[in-house]
Amino acid sequence: MAWLMAILQTLLFIALAPLLSGWIKRVKCRLQNRKAPSLFQPYRDLRKLYRKQPIVPHPASWIFRAAPYIVFASTVLAAATVPLAAIHLPTARIADVIVLVGFFALGRMFLVLAGMDVGTAFGGMGSSREMTISSLAEPAMLMAVFTLAMSAHTTNLSQAVNFVLDTGLVLRPSFVFALGGLMLVAIAETGRIPVDNPATHLELTMIHEAMILEYSGRWLALIEWASQIKLMLYGVLIANIFFPWGIAQTFTVNALALGLGVITLKLAVLAVMLAVSEVLFAKMRIFRVQEYLSFAYLLSVLGMLSHIILEAAR
């Protein structure tokens, strides 16, 4: 029964991710006074891409062909470890946050290899940028995670959420800093606006799009879907760790329905915040991303320090 729940939750993750990005697009359009596409437009795009025949460039090796599946599979596995609507699922016993970061790294490594595999200038450029950014973002993320782990005495997500639920409302300075750091990292890792622009294929500053420029058809669909799932993953991570109230602790129908409704609401609010920040800020120069990420790292380090200094037991 519990395993069934875990599988169901992962499937929900996969199914709802395009809806979230459709919602973000819609809010952004409304804010920019444009006419918004339908909420289900990402599903239609994926279906259209899936029907088309993928085209393989001549110099491509097996890495190019395998990468979309590996990227998609590692993102789905990462989604399986994050509690969406319920905690105490059996998947929580298998994997903790560090495994989650590892899944992200695996997917990213193959995406980067695939970008370089074809040998075009754009692919190599995008890959090198992606690695630069992720090598700066990952320490910041791990530092934020360790800050949480020090308070909760576990790196297991399910237990950490349970800890926050048990202690109730506590204004921990370390959590505030970790929240800030994690939000900045999430924006950088999912390629949203101050770092990368997800809406363009035609810019010299693009990062994610530069790597997947050679992909077409169902492989492109898989990669796009994976990046939508990744965006949702970060949203759920932020919502459930810092504001876990409402998540289901038992597997009754009422609790699960409530958990699902609450997480939908939280994600919708987070998406509105993301859209507003994307409208307000311009994309920054690629050489300033390093400053941005070192600020994220500073926030995480301050979180760790304030846990030790300010939250010491008296």
Binding site: T167, L169, L171, R172, P173, S294, L299, L310, A312
Partner: protein
């Protein structure tokens, strides 16, 4: 006592302490003078909020006066004065380049750890809950000094000096719940006078070396030697 068992007010005071440390770091990394002054104003307002909260928790009405005073002086009056001065000196577009920003930041983090280490024995001998923040106040003082060391612009030096004063005031609030009223009023007046005197000094420095770059004060000749 565990952190989660403290009252929400004490937790909020400690949270504000963390935010004050954050503003100190922001000042350290801010190369534009106008924004530097803005962050300084935010620090002053956070300080006033902390003082008011301590006053509310402990029912010390005289702390409300010092909270209001620091809000007016450090949150509004001195930042506005500095802001005007920056515009009048034509420095609002100038970038005060920070050499090795990453190293400065790491140094700042090290200073926080150092002040934690120094204040450990003090914290161990007192039952006050908010005393955990004394390490933060010491760190704010040291970060203000670091700001003064790493900058060239005289205005940035003044902001660093004022933020040192912020750190001392914060230490007084969290460790002894405020200084005697006379001392506090005296310090507030001193800070105000200092701001005015610094303003006069800016014009003096600029008249004599035609710039506010303090590094040029140590040169004896007008032209650089080859």
């Amino acid at each position: 006592m565990d952190f989660a068992e403290l009252s929400l007010y004490s937790q909020a005071v400690l949270l504000l302490a963390g935010l004050i440390a954050l503003t100190s770091f922001l000042m350290l990394g801010q190369s534009r003078l106008v924004r530097l002054v803005l962050v300084f104003a935010i620090q002053g307002i956070l300080l006033a909020a902390t003082t008011a909260m301590v006053a509310g928790v402990l029912d010390f009405p005289h702390l409300y006066i010092s909270a209001g005073l620091s809000f007016l002086l450090k949150g509004i009056l001195i930042p506005v004065m500095l802001h005007r001065m920056i515009y009048r000196l034509g420095l609002h577009r100038e970038l005060d380049t920070i050499e090795h920003p990453a190293r400065v930041m790491m140094g700042g983090a090290f200073l926080v750890v150092f002040s934690y280490y120094v204040s450990l024995p003090v914290v161990a001998h007192s039952p006050l809950v908010t005393l955990n923040a004394i390490a933060v106040s010491l760190a704010v003082v040291l970060l203000g000094m670091l700001l003064m060391i790493t900058r060239r612009q005289a205005v940035a030096h003044v902001v660093g000096f004022m933020s040192i004063e912020n750190g001392l005031f914060f230490a007084a609030v969290v460790s002894t719940y405020g200084m005697p009223m006379v001392v506090e009023l005296g310090v507030a007046a001193d800070v105000l006078v200092a701001a005015v005197v610094f303003g006069v000094f800016f014009f003096q420095i600029r008249e004599s070396i035609d710039s506010l770059d303090v590094d040029r004060l140590s040169k004896l000749t007008e032209v650089d030697k080859p």
